[in-house]
């Protein structure tokens, strides 16, 4: 009896040991189906290209750029449907992911979120926010963290005269923004005097500086110059000064919200120049002043579907991305400028062939990239570094529609001066 129970015990123990050994050795002896289907991966091989940035999804700039997150998403989907961006360092295409946070149109919030994108989200490259005001403090953030920042709607000198090697933009300095407008005014040859109103922030001051350079070259005499604080609610004093100076053109060097307040009050108070010019003739501005009041005001745009450039992936791809995002160029003409940022990032990664931040930065300095508005390369002069080459062209609101009026090869209507 005792020996039989010993036998039973021995059999059970042996069975257990054999079972344990069997199950322990099984994965080594016979590859499992799961293991066959999922090859062993390393973090590098499952790499995703992370692009990070902020947009004004709320706040004062949201009517101008608050929908561009949808454009970024549409672009990422298009690129991923193609298999991603080819990175020679990895020998294959890698998918892209764009991380966007809401900066609430606020520089402090934007700066905090870019720090988060770098430290927590570990993005490979930064795409800039809307406006120079929000971009200026990010130069130090990108430089300190040694990460490329591809700016978008931001061309103010204080961004690029910091001499950072890490910041690039597709557009030219905003001091060159009004050049084509004054070329048109000069060609027309009728206006003789101009008065400026400019806000005391980087965009307004940059455009004002450009205006003061190019206006005399177009044969205009500057009769009034008014600097006002950004966010000014009552422009009465500046308007009365302009009435006194009585210039042919009133040039409002300000972002859309301030420009809208000024024009609304100028019309209400009887300021009647032969033309109002606002650099940002965008949906938010037109809605604020009313379509009738906006009629015959001139401005600038960077892109229309009349331009002939194909860009990095073709003009059609941009137009499809816009359609997928539910954005029209008429409503959001700055979308193209943000798309340049995606083109520059995509082209740089594919041509330099790496996600190494320092190598990307060095590669960008020497690249020439075909965007949907023409070839871009990055200029360096004096303390300035990373400045792009794209300039906008003049448009005018005519009978409720924004029409390209210059240059002759692109224009869809004639420049109406003086305003009817």
């Amino acid at each position: 009896m005792q020996s039989s129970s010993k036998l039973v015990t021995s059999v059970i123990v042996t069975a257990l040991v054999v079972s344990l050994v069997w199950y322990a050795a099984l994965p080594m002896l016979v590859p499992s189906k799961t293991a066959q289907e999922a090859p062993v991966t390393t973090p590098e091989q499952s790499r995703v290209i992370k692009i990070g940035g902020t947009l004004p999804l709320s706040g004062q700039f949201s009517p101008v750029a608050g929908t561009f997150n949808r454009l970024y998403d549409a672009w990422a989907t298009q690129i991923n449907e193609r298999g991603g961006l080819y990175v020679s360092e990895y020998g294959k295409r890698l998918p892209v992911k764009v991380i966007v946070y809401d900066d609430q149109s606020d520089a402090t919030t934007a700066t905090r979120l870019y720090e988060k994108l770098i430290s927590e989200d570990k993005v490979d490259v930064l795409i800039g926010p809307y406006s120079s005001t929000l971009t200026v403090p990010l130069v130090a953030v990108a430089t300190r963290n040694s990460i490329p920042l591809i700016a978008t709607s931001a061309g103010a000198p204080p961004i690029f005269n910091q001499g950072s090697d890490w910041v690039f933009v597709g557009i030219d300095l905003i001091t060159n923004w009004p050049k084509t407008y004054f070329d048109m005014v000069k060609a027309k040859g009728q206006a003789k005097t101009i008065g400026f109103v400019a806000t005391d922030e980087p965009f307004g001051q940059g455009v004002l500086a450009g205006g003061k350079t190019f206006a005399p070259q177009a044969g205009l005499t500057i009769t009034s110059e008014n600097i006002v604080p950004v966010g000014t609610k009552d422009f009465t004093a500046a308007i009365i000064k302009l009435k006194e100076a009585n210039p042919d053109i009133v040039f409002v060097a300000a972002l859309a919200p301030d420009a809208a307040t000024f024009v609304k009050q100028a019309k209400e108070q009887g300021l009647k120049p032969r033309e109002f010019h606002v650099p940002q003739l965008v949906k938010g501005f037109i809605e604020s002043v009313g379509v009738d009041s906006a009629n015959y005001i001139t401005g600038e745009w960077y892109w229309t579907d009349d331009v002939l450039y194909g860009g990095v992936w073709g003009k059609e791809m941009f137009m499809q991305a816009m359609a997928k995002a539910g954005i029209t160029n008429v409503d959001y003409p700055w979308a193209a400028v943000h798309y340049y940022g995606l083109e520059i990032i995509g082209a740089a990664i594919e041509r330099v062939g790496t996600l190494d931040k320092a190598q990307l930065k060095d590669g960008l300095k020497n690249l020439s990239i075909p965007t949907i508005s023409g070839e871009v390369h990055f200029k360096s002069f004096g303390n300035f570094k990373g400045v792009g080459t794209l300039v906008p062209f003049p448009v005018q609101m005519q009978n409720g529609k924004v029409v390209v009026v210059w240059p002759s090869e692109t224009k869809k209507g004639d420049y109406a001066y003086p305003s009817p």
């Binding site: 999804l57 709320s58 706040g59 004062q60 700039f61 949201s62 009517p63 608050g66 609430q104 005391d200 008014n226 600097i227 006002v228 604080p229 966010g231 000014t232 609610k233 009552d234 422009f235 009465t236 004093a237 500046a238 009365i240 000064k241 009435k243 006194e244 919200p257 809208a260 307040t261 609304k264 009050q265 019309k267 209400e268 108070q269 009887g270 938010g284 604020s288 002043v289 009313g290 009738d292 009041s293």
Partner: protein
């Protein structure tokens, strides 16, 4: 320089002051009766403007009609605000009361501002095309003249309420001497609540009128509060005509400072006025 721009500055200053006037009278009445510095006063103006803007966008109704709907709503809001929040804080002991009122009204203002930011996350305004009127070389905004007319009519109605009704007598008695007024049978709590309602409704009307001439930003409430605070200090607490006169004086100061100094000065002139008056005559220049 010709005389025309100076006259235009003067006229536009008066018109600008008139726009500030309604909010200032509202805060003056509230401060006069309850001695409460309601830091949410400007926030109510912006909130009323936002509500009106949303209604106009949704329905296409005329601003004047919308104002007739929204202003009574804000009377109720002010009444409830006093009953539920301010009244409770007024019952605290003196030390806690001041802290609670500052933090409570400021907190309420910030919450209101956040709500407006969520509802309309941008600057907003409405457009009505009125051609300006010219008198020789002087051109004046028809829109601002109409607004001044609204302010004048409202002030006359308010003057009638304060000097010709039982509520007005009770209000004035309470402002003069709250304890004696209570001994005479005036219900202090009820008068205070009604005055908060009235003051808030006036602030709301002021905010709605601002929609016509400014593009309003959601965070504009606190600057409005600071401006009307300067006005009521200048005009004397609880004085309707004093507040209106001080509003116009401030409007003129702002336009002249903007013209002769810099537009930046027109934004801060109210604070300079506030400081000077407090230093020279702390009870206000025009106190009854």
């Amino acid at each position: 320089m010709t005389l025309a721009p100076l006259l235009e500055l003067l006229i536009f200053g008066i018109l600008l002051g008139g726009i500030y006037g309604l909010s200032a009278i509202g805060l003056s009445l509230i401060f006069g009766i309850a001695r409460v510095l309601n830091l949410a006063h400007g926030a109510f103006a912006v909130f009323a403007a936002a509500v009106s803007f949303v209604v106009i966008q949704a329905t296409g109704l005329n601003l004047l009609f919308v104002a007739m709907l929204v202003v009574p709503l804000f009377f109720v809001a002010g009444y409830v605000y006093e009953t539920l929040l301010i009244h409770r804080m007024l019952s605290f002991n003196r030390e806690r009361r001041i802290e609670a009122l500052i933090l409570g009204t400021l907190g309420f203002a910030l919450v209101t501002e956040s709500i407006v930011s969520i509802i309309i996350p941008r600057n907003f305004g409405v457009n009505y095309q009125f051609l300006p009127i010219s008198f020789g070389e002087i051109t004046v905004s028809t829109l601002r003249l109409l607004l001044l007319a609204v302010v004048a009519i409202t002030t006359v109605i308010l003057h009638f309420i304060v000097y010709k009704t039982w509520y007005g007598k009770a209000l004035r008695a309470t402002i003069d001497d709250a304890e004696t007024a209570q001994l005479m049978g005036i219900n202090f709590d009820r008068i205070t609540s009604i005055t908060f309602g009235l003051g808030t409704a006036l602030s709301a009307l002021g905010g709605i009128l601002l929609l016509l001439v400014f593009n309003i930003s959601p965070n504009m409430g606190f600057p409005i509060t600071l401006k009307v605070l300067a006005i009521i200090i200048l005009g004397g607490l609880g004085s309707i005509l004093g507040s209106l006169a001080a509003s116009i004086a401030l409007g003129i100061s702002e336009t002249f400072a903007g013209f002769f100094l810099d537009t930046a000065w027109s934004n801060s002139i109210s604070l300079v006025v506030l400081l000077v008056v407090v230093l020279i005559k702390s009870e206000g220049l025009l106190r009854r």
